[in-house]
């Protein structure tokens, strides 16, 4: 077992080990637009994350705790955004919210344009990342013993207080893992963003543009930059969620 595990670990990190060798450290340089792409990726992901948490948490809790007829159908429907290729999702989002759709026209009237704008970028990130968060958070909420939530009620707490004081802290490991997963998905989102928000460039699209315009030498530095900006949040979440008494 430990050997197999080690094998899997090596398999997973090997490409990044290779990255260290293929990078031209002597001529290491960024091309114009790399830093603004990093800023776009991080700043918009930071906007997308609270939206994902705010919308995804109630959904995850609802799916974990409520039984209703047709729940299986809801479960199946929730698989769709996970199953469909991101490029297809981008096209679907564009046809739903794009300037020529009914929703797009309505949104346009209130000044929201969901193509090649900051809002479109965040929309793509939220759509791409939220299913992963919901999946992880739901499993975490399901693992909280119902009895503890019931006892909290008998101790005089309202349902929302029970959620904050019992369900959420007890599910914190899974919820934090879900947030980390969503962060990574949001930052790395390429297919949907490519269609819905080609501009402004985030790192994934900029990587593609660099490859097209300047070749591999322009890809590796930006990839290093990506790893540096993407890693801290998941690492931090992993550390704080393992501490006792988060709440």
């Amino acid at each position: 077992m430990p050997l197999l595990g080690l094998g899997a670990l090596i398999f997973l990190i090997a490409p990044f080990a290779a990255l260290a060798f293929v990078t031209d450290w002597v001529g290491f340089h960024f091309v114009p637009g790399d830093f603004s792409a990093a800023f776009v990726s991080v700043a918009y992901s930071l906007v997308a994350m609270p939206i994902i948490a705010a919308l995804g948490t109630p959904l995850a809790w609802w799916l974990a705790r409520r039984d209703f007829p047709g729940k299986l159908v809801v479960d199946a429907l929730l698989l769709l955004p996970l199953l469909a290729p991101p490029l297809a999702l981008g096209i679907l989002l564009a046809s739903l919210y794009g300037p020529y759709s009914a929703a797009g026209v309505l949104l346009g009237r209130v000044g929201v344009v969901l193509t090649n704008t900051a809002a479109a970028f965040v929309l793509a990130q939220v759509y791409g990342a939220m299913p992963y968060y919901v999946l992880a958070a739901r499993a975490a909420f399901e693992a909280v013993p119902r009895e503890l939530e019931e006892i909290a009620l008998t101790l005089g707490k309202e349902r929302w207080q029970v959620f904050l004081a019992v369900s959420l802290p007890m599910a914190r490991l899974g919820v934090a893992a879900g947030l980390a997963l969503a962060w990574v998905r949001a930052l790395g989102e390429f297919g949907i963003v490519l269609i819905v928000a080609y501009f402004p460039h985030g790192i994934p699209v900029k990587l593609w543009v660099n490859l097209e315009d300047s070749g591999l030498a322009a890809v590796y530095p930006l990839l290093w930059l990506f790893l540096i900006v993407a890693m801290p949040l998941p690492l931090w979440l992993g550390i704080v969620s393992r501490r006792r008494g988060l709440m």
């Binding site: 013993p145 009895e147 503890l148 019931e150 006892i151 909290a152 009620l153 008998t154 101790l155 005089g156 707490k157 309202e158 349902r159 004081a165 019992v166 802290p169 007890m170 006792r244 008494g245 988060l246 709440m247």
Partner: protein
């Protein structure tokens, strides 16, 4: 306090009983005792008084489930402080409650570092912090270490008496009911009997109640006569004398319940000749078919006009018996309990 509850789901249960002091509701597994407590706490849909229709958070009830359900992500004192509002003095109030129950020293411990008895006290302190009018305890002995169970439980009962809150305890353990102020029996998802333990143990209302109370010798016979407050009952060629019940009428079929430990072997009735004369009533000659040690006591299975299960205490006459012996068994009239036969 009068409890009157009806449940439809998950089981159909009707329960009407009065709770005063430490009250034990005993019933076999599967009677729905846990469901009844959850219904009173508002965690299962039910109709009843008190608190009918209120959500659980509005019922002044302290509920201790089996296993106590302490919050694993909080320390012992944080568990106790859980029901208290978040303002200054919260920690002091929690520590005060813990000190009252003798567990102030455990304040910083995590629940998984506590013994079963300590967890029970933390859970009790937490329930008290909520300011309940009624305590509900589900199988309080189940999570306790068997070696210290009786001592821990005795202290718990003392503590609850000192606090002075009406407490309803459900259990399958009749032994616990014997320590209570009041008890009730649940048979067929209904309360069939209630009273003080002395009353209930002495007069089981029917066969199922008697079995629940630990009576192993149950027979049916014909009430032949009542003379001077003593009833004579005939069964299979044997006549037994028992205190006459108020409802007894000669000619009726009655049930007879005798505890194993109330049967003695008559002096002089054993294979070795004794000195004293044998008693004159409720005597039966039996063949011992099996002898089994039960701790320091001896359990005999014996067969004659009737089959009897006999528990001889250490040092009693006949405790050197073995299978195959012939013995004269007898029971005091006041230890023969009559109950109404069904039908």
């Amino acid at each position: 306090m009068q409890i009157d509850y009806r449940l439809e789901r998950p089981l159909r249960i009707e329960a009407r009983l009065s709770v005063a002091g430490f009250t034990v509701l005993a019933g076999a597994s599967g009677e729905g005792k846990t469901s009844l407590l959850k219904a009173i706490a508002g965690l299962l849909p039910a109709e009843g008084e008190p608190y009918g229709g209120l959500p659980p958070q509005d019922r002044p009830v302290g509920y201790l489930p089996q296993g106590f359900a302490l919050f694993p992500h909080l320390s012992a004192w944080e568990n106790v402080a859980f029901p208290l509002a978040r303002r200054s003095g919260r920690r002091e109030r929690a520590l005060g409650l813990m000190a009252r129950l003798g567990i102030a020293g455990l304040a910083e411990r995590s629940p998984d570092a506590l013994s079963g008895g300590q967890q029970q006290r933390v859970a009790l302190a937490r329930a008290l912090a909520r300011g309940p009018e009624l305590l509900l305890l589900d199988e309080p002995t189940s999570a306790l270490d068997p070696a210290t169970r009786d001592a821990v439980l005795g202290e718990l009962i003392e503590e609850i008496r000192r606090i002075g809150l009406p407490t309803l305890v459900v259990t399958h353990d009749v032994h616990l009911a014997a320590m209570a102020d009041r008890m009730a029996l649940m048979v067929g998802r209904q309360i069939v009997q209630e009273g003080t333990p002395r009353e209930v143990f002495a007069a089981p209302v029917d066969e199922r109640a008697a079995r629940l109370l630990g009576y192993r010798n149950l027979f049916f016979g014909l009430l032949q006569a009542i003379v001077d407050g003593l009833a004579t009952v005939a069964l299979d060629g044997l006549r037994l004398t028992a205190p006459a019940p108020s409802w007894g009428v000669p000619g009726m079929r009655v049930g007879i319940a005798i505890r194993s430990e109330d049967i003695a072997l008559a002096p002089g009735g054993t294979t070795e000749a004794g000195a004293a004369a044998p008693p004159r009533m409720n005597v039966v000659m039996l063949n011992v078919t099996a002898v089994r040690e039960e701790g320091l006591a001896l359990r005999l299975s014996a067969y004659g006009s009737v089959a009897l299960d006999i528990l001889l205490p250490r040092g009693a006459d006949g405790s050197d018996l073995s299978a195959g012996a012939r013995v004269l068994a007898w029971v005091r009239p006041e230890h023969v309990h009559l109950f109404r036969a069904a039908g």
